[in-house]
């Protein structure tokens, strides 16, 4: 069977000289030769190794650590425990800004979750430090672990996600249900999931007096620099974070965590460089996760299959000491038209590490439930699931009535359905079999993600030789920022990408903002674009005021920058190279700066989202209940695409995350102890090659004149959102069984045949 032919790249507009081209990654060669250096690849002279010892209980106190045995092991240099941990300048039980969570850095002997650091062992070798940590043999005073709905502590949260409202209501929901012909209600559960970036969290810390250099993967360099400065009581400019490559982040590398802080502290104490890399199992605790949810959807429907009311209620789990709550219910506020919508979230405290943002936080879990419920509603109305979604198409933003800045969702539905071959799908489940007798089912889900923008700054330097240096402290965790951002900068400067040297991933550069919320390309991109435009404006001033320039006097007409030349706008034959302009005026360089800026009134006036539709085919073994997602087709519209090759990869990756959510991922806690029983990559299942046989993405053209001056929306997370529901719905279509607990497991299908 040949691999499906790669889809032709959707027509994209060539914007100026280069953005919009499907370039390969600028860091590709470094990555395929092993020369890309990730944090743990650093090895400064005299480096020591740090290993955390972690708790094996979920709640209680550490009553004994055999520090003497650990210290007696050859090669062990130091053991940090609450008894001797040097002071920190920040109280770890207090918040430090919105992303500064309360964390565990040996401030006392209490244990609040499994895999919490309870000591740090430093050794001359990794082997010595590892053995030293094992020799600590902790003893505990154990308290019962709170692990679920039945024994957790319920509470009413002040905020959910990052500053979101715990309750949002549009219209009169009760009136909507009273007017409904049909009401569909269903409960869905989503599990604890761990980011499991391939690169474990690591740091190599080196102190020089009161300056510290941190080689670490980081999704928010300048924000983190400020935070580390506060923790260590030094000036922010004394902290240098270097993060040239991240081995994946997915939200787990933006928030400070205890183990990394302890390693930095050990380096200061011992006055030697220290490296710490978490083991895989140690990542199941102190570095965030997607919190568990229990969701209830209630949909009121009129006789035409249109929503009269939508009520989405979610209980979200968090830790006993911090408040990040997966904002799942809010996912129902945006995709579908309904005269009344109510989204509400309740909190549940468990003895677990604090959850955090994980790729499509809220949207992933919330849309999983919403899209499954929409399918149940379509079934209740006797409608095709795609027709049902079209009947509930939102012409304006639900609740606010704001118009969309752009919304090519109809095109996504149409093109996705066509490529997938949706037409002719039997309405009833369990109607299709393949040649081997496997049950075949088709499902659809709507994908949606908002367009947040973050503050960002950049600097561009045009050099006398006509090349440029552009700089911003951004983060490339695999999305391709080094390539896409350089393309945007090159376009603004009227240069070929090869003429642009791009510096990023270092905290001393202008603040590139956060690589998150699918907003990095737009945010850092706008800053770079404006820095480039600043350079061109300065250069134009030099030329048009100079009688020796062919552009002299073009002030009112204006100039355009392309291919290393400024050209008179009305007569491009009159032009001058950057080099000539700079040489004549004797300038060695022109430096421009820029920041993320967009029309804030437009941002208030228009509703801004990326949209998409995902179609899934599954095959299910009728005897064993084994499910395989055999085909995924996603069609997405996300404004202007800076690099279609990289955008495709984002969609593929997002859809595979959706597949993983639907069918594979789940951390299981032992109800007696709270220990996570599958804290490794053999038993915590993430997709491997053979789990994702066919993934296809359609790039639906979309122009957006309002979202920002570049017309860019986000592409990093939307792929997760429609896919989970599409697969769940396909499983129902194949089997006739609704599984409302994720991931959908073969045992659920076998027992409910």
């Amino acid at each position: 069977m040949p691999l499906e032919t790669p889809a032709p790249i959707a027509p994209y507009r060539r914007h100026g000289s280069n953005a919009g081209q499907p370039l390969t990654r600028r860091d590709g060669e470094l990555k395929v030769t092993g020369r890309a250096t990730y944090a743990a690849d650093n090895h400064p002279e005299g480096m020591l190794y740090a290993v955390t010892a972690v708790s094996s209980i979920a709640r209680g106190r550490v009553t004994f650590l055999d520090v003497a045995a650990a210290k007696a092991h050859p090669g062990v240099v130091e053991v940090l425990t609450p008894a001797n941990r040097p002071p920190l300048a920040h109280d770890p039980d207090k918040k430090l800004g919105m992303f500064g969570f309360r964390i565990e850095v040996l401030q006392d002997d209490s244990v609040r979750y499994v895999n919490q650091p309870i000591a740090l062992v430093v050794g001359e070798t990794l082997e010595a430090a590892t053995e030293g940590a094992a020799l600590l043999n902790p003893r505990y005073e154990v308290e019962p672990a709170r692990t679920g709905l039945d024994n957790g502590e319920r509470y009413a949260p002040a905020a959910i996600g990052v500053g979101g409202a715990p309750r949002t209501a549009y219209g009169d929901v009760e009136a909507g249900f009273a007017a409904a012909d049909t009401i569909v209600e269903a409960d869905y559960a989503t599990p604890t999931q761990f980011h499991n970036a391939m690169e474990p969290h690591a740091v190599v810390a080196q102190w020089d007096g009161d300056h510290v250099t941190l080689d670490m993967p980081n999704q928010a360099l300048v924000m983190s620099r400020e935070a580390y400065a506060a923790w260590f009581g030094i000036a922010p400019e004394n902290v240098l974070i270097r993060s040239p490559f991240l081995g994946g982040g997915f939200g787990s590398k933006a928030i400070l965590n205890g183990p990394q802080i302890l390693a930095i502290l050990a380096a200061r104490l011992l006055q030697r460089p220290v490296k710490l890399a978490l083991t895989r199992s140690q990542m199941y605790g102190p570095v965030g996760h997607r919190g568990r949810t229990w969701q209830t959807l209630r949909l009121g429907l009129d006789g035409e299959g249109r929503l009269t009311a939508l009520h989405h209620r979610s209980i979200a789990a968090t830790s006993s000491f911090e408040d990040f709550l997966e904002p799942a219910a809010n996912a129902s506020l945006y995709p579908y038209a309904s005269p009344a919508i109510l989204a509400e979230t309740h909190g549940l405290r468990l003895d677990i590490g604090t959850p955090g943002p994980m790729r499509a936080p809220g949207e992933a879990s919330g849309s999983a439930a919403l899209e499954a419920a929409m399918d149940e509603a379509a079934e209740a109305c006797g409608m095709d699931p795609l027709d049902f979604r079209l009947a509930n198409y939102a012409q304006t933003e639900p609740g606010t009535g704001r118009p969309y800045s752009s919304k090519a969702l109809r095109e996504c539905y149409a093109e996705g359905a066509k490529r997938f071959g949706w037409a002719g799908r039997p309405l009833q489940p369990r109607q299709m079999r393949d040649e081997n007798g496997l049950l075949v089912g088709w499902g659809v889900g709507t994908a949606l993600f908002p367009c947040p923008h973050f503050p960002a700054q950049a600097r561009a330097t045009l050099r006398a030789d006509g090349t440029a240096l552009v700089e911003t402290a951004g983060a490339d965790m695999g999305q391709g920022a080094w390539t896409a951002l350089a393309q945007i900068a090159a376009e603004a400067l009227g240069l070929d990408p090869d003429q642009v040297e791009f510096h990023s991933g270092v905290s001393s550069l202008p603040d590139g903002g956060v690589a998150g919320g699918s907003g990095h390309t737009a945010s850092a991109g706008l800053a770079l674009h404006n820095a480039g435009e600043d350079v061109i404006a300065q250069l134009a001033e030099l030329a048009i005021n100079d009688p020796a320039s062919p552009l002299f006097g073009a002030g009112n007409i204006g100039v355009v920058a392309r291919s290393g030349r400024l050209r008179r706008r009305d007569d491009e034959t009159r032009s001058e190279t950057y080099v000539d302009i700079l040489t004549r005026v004797g300038r060695g360089a022109v430096v421009g700066t820029g920041r993320m800026a967009r029309d804030e009134e437009a941002a208030r006036t228009w509703a801004m989202y990326s949209h998409g539709a995902v179609f899934a085919e599954v095959k299910v073994d009728p005897e064993l209940g084994q499910v395989r997602a055999t085909r995924l087709v996603g069609a997405f519209a996300a404004g202007r695409l800076v690099n279609p090759r990289l955008v495709r990869s984002q969609y593929y990756g997002g859809m595979i995350w959706g597949l993983s959510f639907a069918l594979l991922e789940e951390a299981v806690a032992d109800r007696r102890t709270g220990r996570i029983m599958n804290a490794d990559l053999a038993e915590y299942h993430v997709p491997v090659s053979t789990d994702a046989p066919s993934v296809d993405a359609i790039l639906v053209p979309e122009e957006d004149a309002y979202v920002n001056p570049l017309g860019i929306k986000g592409v990093g997370e939307i792929g997760v959102t429609g896919t989970v529901g599409a697969i769940a719905n396909a499983v129902w279509h194949a089997t006739g069984v609704r599984i409302r607990r994720f991931p959908i497991r073969m045992e659920d299908l076998m027992t409910r045949r």
Partner: protein, 165 residues
């Protein structure tokens, strides 16, 4: 305690004094020989990021004790390219965007090179997917990876025919 092994690493004979019998091949490469291309993703043989070739066969270097490699020939990602000229698998990974963050990539590529040498995948993408499933890519670059392996297979077939002729 001192243990000495002699082995061939990326074509160079090398004798190494091991200071500790617990050292894995992966930690030997990464922490003592400055060959950091192979990555530690799990240290349990579950993710494949540490894949290298030992005597031409792909193995998880985190599961091999260094002391067991006396006399072996080890190839890591650093030894794959011919000077500036990329190995066809490396070039194909770039062309097909067979990676995102790049952390699993050295392991994916070494696994693909080993797979092609095993000669059991042919041009069947389903077989390639199955036989590459010991290497996890959390970014989900699997489509590009499969296409890259197919493409490299073709390139290698072509050059083999040229060599034969």
């Amino acid at each position: 305690m001192s243990l000495s092994i002699s082995f061939n690493i990326n074509g160079q004979p090398r004798t190494v004094e091991l200071d500790d019998p617990r050292i894995t091949l992966l930690d030997l490469l990464r922490e003592r020989l400055a060959l950091t291309g192979a990555k530690k993703g799990c240290d349990r043989g579950q993710c494949g990021a540490c894949t290298v070739l030992v005597d031409g066969r792909r193995i998880n270097s985190c599961l091999a004790l260094a002391v067991s490699l006396d006399g072996a020939a080890v190839t890591t990602i650093e030894g794959l390219a011919d000077g500036e000229r990329l190995h066809p698998v490396q070039a194909a990974f770039i062309a097909h965007d067979g990676f995102q963050c790049g952390f699993c990539t050295p392991g994916q590529i070494m696994s693909a090179v080993g797979l092609l040498a095993e000669g059991q995948a042919g041009d069947d993408p389903e077989r390639i997917r199955e036989l590459m499933s010991g290497n996890i890519c959390r970014c989900g670059a699997y489509r590009g990876i499969t296409e890259a392996v197919l493409d490299a297979q073709k390139a290698l077939d072509g050059s083999n025919r040229e060599n034969a002729a």
